[in-house]
Amino acid sequence: MMRPMPEDDCTVRPDPRWCAAVVRALRLIIPLGLLALAMVPSRGAAVVPAVEAPIRYELPNGLSVVLDPLPARQSVAVVVSVEAGRRDQPSGWTGLAHLTEHLLFQGTPAAPGELMTRLERLGATAINAQTGDDWTRYYEVVPSARLERALWIEAERFAHGLDALDDQGLAEQRRVLDREREQRDLGREAVWELVRTILYPPSHPYGSARERAGDVHAARVADVRWFFQRHYMPDRMTLSLSGGFDPDRARVWIERYFGPLRRGPISAPPRQLPPPSVLIDGERRVLAEARRSDDLLCVIWPTPPWGAPGDAELDFVAGELTRRLARWRRVSRVVRDIDISQESGHLASTFRACVSVERRSGTQAPLMVLDGELEAMRRAPIEEEAIAAWRRRWMDGELVTMEHSLRRAQRNAARPPAFPGGVYDLGANLARYDAVTNEGVQRAVRRWLPPRDRLVVSVAGRHEAPPEGRIVSDVFVVEAP
C-alpha cells in the first residue's frame, strides 16, 4: 500500500490478513457487446435488477482490457492489475513485490518526478496501490476530462517505470517500506500475519508472506529490474476503466499508449496455479502470544475459493453464526468482539471465526459456544426466513458495492477462476446468492466446517510479546479410533 488513507475513505484498504488472490487460468477473450441479463424473479428477495456486463477485449500484446462506461459520471476509475504478487517472490526475497510496487511511482524519463504528484496535478483522487499474494494493482480516480493523460501516465509507468531508478531512489523507498511495516505492527496487525504463518507452512506459496526487513534491504536495483521484466508484462496485466468516458475514444487511447508495450527477452513465468490445498488432518491447536489488549480465539477451516460451490453458502453461515453468537455476547461480560467471515480468495479461501475476550479470561468458553452453534447448524437447517434475510443482505450488498466506480473497476479486473469464463461478473455473483437454500447451507456446514479437522489458534495478549508475535505451543489432537 502506498499511502495510508483516512478510515472513512471509500478506497479499498489492503487486508494484510487475507489477501485475495487472482489467477488467470485461461487466456480469455469475450466477444464484444453488452450482455443484458433479463429480469430474473428471485427466490425470495428483491427482483434481481438488470445489469450490463462490461466490454472485454485483448490487445495484440496480450493486455486484457475491461471498459465499463457509465455515461452520466464525471470521473473515471483507472485500475491496472498485474498477475504478480508475494507468491512470485523467490525464496529469501520477501518484500520484492512490494518494493517494486513502490518504485513504480518514482517517475520515468518522460514523466519525471513522483507519479502521485503528477496524478494529483490532474485532479486524481484515491490514488494508491496494493500488493497481494497473487496480484499487484495500481489505481486512481480521475476527472473524465483527464482520462487520456492518466492513461498515458499509467502506460509510461509500465513501459519505462524503472528506467530512472537509481540507488538513492531505492534507498528512499526501502525506508518507506520500513515505516509501513512498523505502522502495521503498531496497529496490531501482526497477529493476523502470525495466524497466516501457522496456517500456511513455509513451503506453501502463501507461506512466507511476511516481509522481512533484511530481505528488503538486500534488494538492489538490478533485482527489482529483473522482477519487473519477468512479471510486469502486458500479457499478465489487465487494464480496467469504470466511469464517465466514451469507450470508442478510450479504445483509441489504450491502443496508442499501451499497444507498444511488449514482453522482452525474459521468458514468461508459468501461469499461477491454484495453491495446494491446506490439509488439516485432525485438530491443530496453537497457543500464541501477541501484543494485544485482549485475548483472541480464531478457528479456521480451508474452504472453496470465490465463486466455487459452497462459497456463497458459507457467506450465509458466517452471517447466521454471527447473529447467534451475538445473543450469547449480550449475557457474557468478557466478550469484546465477534468477527466471523468466509474470506473468499480467488484461488483459495478460509472460513474464520474469531472471538476476542478480555485479557486472561480464556478462550475455552467461546470455543464451546461456537462449537455448540455449529453443531446445531449441522443438525438442523436454518429457518427459511433467516435465509431470505441473508439472501437480501448479500445481494443488496453486492449491488451497493458496485455503485462506486473504483470498486467496479477493481472487481471487473478480478479473474476468479470459479466464475463463468474466469472473470468476475456481477450478474453471476447475484445469481449464486439467489440460488442458496437452507439445505445447501446445512450441507456446507457439514462439508466445510467439520468439528475436528481445523486450526484453533488461541492468542494471549501480552505486552512483552515481540511485535511479530510468537508461537508458544503447537499440538495436534487426534481422536482415538
Binding site: 476527472p143 499508449y257 455503485e403
Partner: protein, 477 residues
C-alpha cells in the same frame, strides 16, 4: 488419545537462504518512447442534477434526484431537531444504537452497513443504500420513525445492554490506567473536559440506566420532528412517481410545525495550559503523533478555505508535510489530515506514525507547517494549485454516486442551506488564493496552541524532550 507433538517456534525473522537473482535483461526498457498527449482543458464544474423538492403538509421536506447509472438508491431521513431536543450524551448514544438496523448486542453497524443511524448534537441522520426494489421497506421504516412507532421496548433494551457493555468495559480500562486515554485527553484539550463530545467518551453506566424508554421515544420525536426534517432520495428512481407515492404514504402524518432547536452555546475551544501531552508506553519502535484543531462550520464563509488548508497540511500526497516526513526524511509512511463536520464547527485532525527517535522532529515539523500555511508569502503557488485541483476533483467525483450526492444534500439540509449551495462550494474553492487560505488559517488555526498528543516509548521520550511551543506535559505510563 492425544498425540502431542509440541514444539516451540521462534519467529525471529530468520529468513530462508537467499540465492542471487538472475541479472535483468536490460538496464533500460526496450519499449520506444510513447507519444505524449496534448494538454486537455480543465474539467468543467460539475452540474448538480435537477432536485425535485417538495414540502409536505406535515412540514417534512422532500428532495429527490434521479441518478440512473446503477440500480442503487440512497435514502436518508435527516432531522435537525426541534425545541427541547438538547444534546444529551447518554440519550443520543442510546437512541443511535436503538435505531441502527438489527441493533443487538454485537451487531454494530459496519462501514458498509446498508441501514445506519447517527445521533449527535448535529441532528439525527438515518441512511439506507438499497436496490430500487427495496425502497418501499426503507420508506416504511422512515415513516415509522416520524410517527413514533419505530422503537419498541425490546429494541431499546437491547440497545441499552449493548451500550452498558461498552461503557462498563471502557470504565474498567480507565480504572486500570493512571490517566485518561490519549484520545479522550486530546479532545479534552480541544473542547474542555465537560463538552458533550468529551463526556460521550466517559459515559457512566448509572446514567445509561436512568434513561427510560419513554424518554428515548420523546427524544426521537423531537429530533425527528417532521417540520424540521427532510427525506432525501437519490438514485435509480422515477422522481415524479416517487414524489406522488411519498405524498400519499406520508399523508398520515398530521400537519404541524416545530420550533427549530435553539443551538446551544458554541464550544469555547479554550487555549490549553499545556498543548502537548506525551503518553509514555512500554518500549515500542514507533510513536503516534496526533493533532486536533477547531475549524469553521460548513456554512461559514471560511469553510472552503479551511478545507484547502487541510489539503495543504497533509490531506494529499503532495503536501509539504507529507513529502518532507515521508519522501525526504523517510520518517513516515504518510500523514493523514482530514476535516470532519460538526453542528456549529468543524474539526481538523492530523495524525502520523514515526519512529520514536524522530518524534520530536516530526512534532516540530507539524507545528512549523501550520505556521507556514498561515503566511500567504510562504504558500507555494504550485502546491496551492495542486491542492485546489484535488479538492475540486474530489467534490465533483463525490457527486457521481447516489451516496455522495445524497450525503451532500443531507449536509446542506443540516446547515439550513439550499441544494444549490453544493454548486456554490465548488465555485468558492475554485476562487481561493493563498491570501484567502492563510487568512482563514489565522482566524482558526493556532500553531502554538492546537492540542497535540504523542504516544510512544516512555523511556525514550522522557530522556529526549520534545520541544514545541505551548507547553509539554508528560503523562507517564
Amino acid at each position: 488419545m492425544i498425540r502431542a507433538c509440541s514444539w516451540v517456534l521462534l519467529l525471529a525473522g530468520c529468513g530462508a537462504a537467499r540465492a542471487p537473482l538472475p541479472a535483468p535483461a536490460a538496464e533500460r526498457s526496450w519499449v520506444a518512447p510513447l507519444p505524449e498527449p496534448e494538454d486537455s482543458p480543465p474539467p468543467a464544474p460539475p452540474q448538480l442534477p435537477p432536485v425535485v423538492s417538495a414540502a409536505l403538509p406535515c412540514g417534512l421536506t422532500v428532495q429527490i434526484v434521479e441518478q440512473r447509472s446503477v440500480p442503487v438508491v440512497y435514502a436518508a431521513l435527516v432531522g435537525r431537531g426541534s425545541t427541547g431536543s438538547a444534546p444529551h450524551v447518554e440519550l443520543d448514544a442510546l437512541l443511535e444504537l436503538a435505531l441502527n438496523s438489527g441493533a443487538s448486542a454485537g451487531d454494530d453497524p459496519g462501514e458498509d452497513e446498508h441501514d445506519g443511524a447517527r445521533v449527535n448534537e448535529r441532528g439525527i441522520v438515518l441512511t439506507s443504500r438499497v436496490p430500487p426494489s427495496d425502497l418501499d421497506r426503507v420508506l416504511a421504516r422512515y415513516l415509522a420513525v416520524l410517527e413514533g412507532s419505530a422503537l419498541d421496548d425490546d429494541r431499546v433494551e437491547v440497545a441499552r445492554a449493548t451500550l452498558l457493555g461498552r461503557v462498563t468495559f471502557e470504565r474498567a480500562q480507565r480504572s486500570r490506567a493512571s490517566s485518561p486515554p490519549p484520545t479522550q485527553e486530546l479532545f479534552s484539550l480541544l473542547y474542555g473536559r465537560e463538552h458533550p463530545r468529551v463526556r460521550r467518551m466517559r459515559m457512566r453506566a448509572s446514567a445509561v440506566q436512568r434513561v427510560d424508554t419513554a424518554r428515548v421515544r420523546r427524544h426521537l420525536a423531537r429530533m425527528a420532528a417532521p417540520a424540521e426534517s427532510a427525506l432525501v432520495v437519490v438514485g435509480d428512481v422515477d422522481a415524479a412517481a416517487l414524489e406522488s407515492a411519498i405524498r400519499e404514504r406520508f399523508a398520515i402524518l398530521a400537519p404541524g410545525s416545530a420550533a427549530p432547536r435553539t443551538p446551544g452555546a458554541a464550544p469555547e475551544f479554550p487555549d490549553p495550559d499545556t498543548r502537548l501531552r506525551i503518553f509514555g508506553t512500554r518500549p515500542e519502535p514507533s510513536a503516534i503523533i496526533r493533532l486536533l484543531e477547531r475549524g469553521p462550520a460548513i456554512e461559514h464563509e471560511d469553510y472552503a478555505a479551511f478545507r484547502l488548508f487541510a489539503r495543504l497540511a497533509g490531506g494529499m500526497f503532495s503536501s509539504g508535510l507529507n513529502l518532507r516526513l515521508r519522501e525526504s526524511r523517510g520518517d513516515a509512511y504518510g500523514v493523514i489530515t482530514r476535516v470532519s463536520d460538526r453542528f456549529d464547527h468543524s474539526v481538523l485532525e492530523l495524525s502520523v506514525v514515526v519512529p520514536v527517535g524522530a518524534a520530536g522532529a516530526a512534532a516540530a515539523s507539524v507545528v512549523e507547517e501550520l505556521a507556514r500555511l498561515s503566511d500567504p508569502e510562504r504558500i507555494d503557488a504550485e502546491e496551492l494549485e495542486i491542492a485546489r485541483t484535488v479538492e475540486l476533483a474530489e467534490l465533483a467525483a463525490s457527486l457521481d454516486t447516489s451516496t455522495g450526492l445524497g450525503r451532500a444534500l443531507v449536509a446542506a439540509f443540516l446547515a439550513r442551506e439550499a441544494p444549490s449551495s453544493i454548486d456554490d462550494t465548488y465555485a468558492r474553492v475554485a476562487a481561493l488564493d493563498a491570501a484567502a487560505v492563510a487568512a482563514a488559517a489565522r482566524r482558526w488555526v493556532r500553531p502554538e496552541k492546537a492540542p497535540m498528543v504523542i504516544v510512544g516509548d516512555y523511556l525514550w521520550l522522557f530522556t529526549h524532550p520534545v520541544r514545541v511551543p505551548g507547553g509539554v506535559g508528560f503523562v507517564g505510563h
